[in-house]
Symmetry: C2
């Protein structure tokens, strides 16, 4: 292991032959997967934990992101001595298919044409993402997961795991998530997609090698970002505070700090994310309805598994509010699955799952048996 490997984790990329059959009817082949691993797989291969990432995140869960140099997005949760203890577990985190951090997605090359897929890339589902992760685990020689863990869209994958591969998961942690996208969730995503598609630089998704639809993607991110924060959190952080000049300009500059903050969020996002991937992944989330995949009854999704579950929600999360977690708990109860559930208090809305929360860390450590 080189010094860089230690700093960044083991960054890996694999091209699997597939084909991966997709919920939409097509097949993906080959399947590119970019992933990182932390810790060492035990001789009995029984210590693997899969971390599933959210919409715009990546495989760099605990190691620094080599492109940005920034720390991983969940270093307080995953690492030596952390709740997901890499001294103890072999941790895998893979970029979801449809994304743009190295796994197959609209920006990767279509072997049939030698050009980026663009909108020819097949529409994928959360279950397709999970099936791609299973292919990767096959490749790594991991039959069975000690645990699968995710927040937000990562929680959807974590829920989909025991429903899709009931014998391959022992424990499931679902944080700030839902078993289906609500009408309001879909509505906000549709605003974002329309913002991207309204940008003339989008060019029907065929913008690779040209100017990217930056303005549209920035607007999409701004709208989404509001849903990640609580009203109270925004008031606490920004309220009606003006920018440094401390006076209204009676113009259309960013007078209020919250405007400037949102504009920055939009611009920064464009630098790190592909607009087409944003379309594909939001679509996968909108399509997600675990009950529908199992005859309309959520409990049916969990009848085959013997996994145990932990659910965590945050009281100010209005994107995936506590009632969504409660309905999952009820379904797990109906299916006879062991489940613990806690609603944590936080001013930070949906984003709370990404922030350092001693309570969240304690719940996960307790559930995984790593509490000291």
């Amino acid at each position: 292991m080189s010094a860089d490997d230690q700093r960044f984790g083991l960054q890996r990329h694999v091209t699997l032959p597939g084909p991966l059959p997709l919920d939409g009817g097509g097949r993906l082949a080959p399947v590119e997967i970019a992933y990182e691993t932390y810790g060492t797989l035990a001789p009995d291969r029984g210590n693997a934990v899969l971390i599933c990432h959210a919409l715009t995140m990546d495989q760099h869960v605990a190691g620094a992101n080599p492109r940005t140099g920034k720390p991983g997005w969940w270093t307080q949760m995953v690492g030596p001595g952390r709740p997901v203890d890499t001294d103890h577990f072999f941790v895998v985190c893979a970029n979801v298919i449809g994304s743009c951090m190295g796994s197959s997605g609209p920006a990767t090359m279509d072997p049939a044409t030698g050009k980026p897929f663009g909108m020819i890339f097949p529409v994928i589902t959360i279950r397709d993402m999970v099936r791609a992760q299973a292919l990767l685990l096959d490749h790594l020689g991991v039959d069975r997961l000690k645990a699968v863990i995710g927040g937000s869209m990562g929680g959807m994958q974590a829920l989909s795991w025991p429903a899709t591969f009931p014998d391959r998961v022992e424990a499931v942690v679902v944080i700030a998530s839902a078993a289906r996208h609500s009408a309001q969730n879909i509505a906000f995503h549709e605003v974002g997609r329309q913002a991207v598609m309204a940008d003339p630089h989008w060019r029907g998704g065929d913008y690779y090698g040209h100017e990217v639809p930056a303005a549209g993607l920035a607007v999409a991110r701004m709208a989404a970002h509001i849903t990640y924060l609580s009203e109270a959190g925004l008031t606490q952080k920004f309220g009606r505070k003006l920018q440094a000049r401390d006076a209204k300009t009676f113009g259309f500059d960013a007078d209020f700090q919250v405007e400037s903050y949102l504009r920055y969020q939009g611009i920064a996002f464009v630098d790190r994310f592909d607009a087409n991937s944003y379309l594909y992944i939001t679509r996968a989330m909108d399509y997600f309805d675990l009950a529908e995949e199992h005859g309309g009854l959520l409990a049916s999704a969990f009848r085959q598994t013997r996994a145990r579950f932990a659910l965590i929600s945050f009281d100010t999360d209005w994107l995936y509010p506590t009632r969504e977690s409660r309905s999952i708990v009820q379904a797990l109860n109906a299916a006879g699955a062991p489940v613990s559930f806690v609603e944590l208090s936080s001013p930070y809305g949906h984003d709370a799952f990404l922030l350092d929360s001693p309570e969240m860390n304690r719940v996960v450590a307790g559930f995984l048996g790593t509490a000291s």
Copy 2:
């Protein structure tokens, strides 16, 4: 009165010389005001009621809109035998300045250049809108209002009236509104403005006579429209229902009914509203902070007036939630102003104030003394 006048109400337009001094420091002259009146001004001129409209509404509160042929936007509230009884009151509703339904706004002609103002139009405030309404009432010979009534942005104007002209208002009805825009309110408006400005057809606001920034304005409207509805209302109306073909397309068409509905809302809005007016009016709302205008203490805004107040909020309105109304009630109490307040139950979110609500009608009729 012609037959058309009876059907449409008395549509009027007046060019007042002004100048209207503006909060931003400039002056507007002349001041164009498009308005409608219903009923007859009493000989003692003591029966006038001013209705203030919301962001994208117009002066056609009770009579049909002559452009669309559609009924007025508040016919269940204003008309013969209605809570705001036009057999009893002389009702005035004027298009706010900054808007695009006939009053001075960015689309009206700048006398200095003979071309539309565009972004040269001065940034205006809620108080500027109210001052323009006062000019109109001067013109109509109305010294004193029996009542001023408004919902949403109309409620902001209604609140601003007794603060700006304490001797000219006897009663104030504020529905589904707030005394200041919150950080989240500003954030959503900023998304809309950035969506408009990101549209290359916006051309710095100089698009009159050219293609309009339709795509950007439609995205702005879609984002705003979500905030007008409750999560539960969206779920009840649309849930995850698919379009007629009743199957996912695994593409980016509007598969879900809520997507199709939102797209329609965006497109329909572009036909009836000017993009620059959207920028100006959202800015006026974001700037609104009645306490700030009065030394930081909301109660100070009401110390000069002897008006009595009625406030109504809706329990599922998350744009201007009940706590915003409560803080106004507390300020009115502190100022010693008579106030009644009720939170009504509705599944429809912020939009509830525009819908037929027998409870809302009863509260307003009781307050105005028109209950039968």
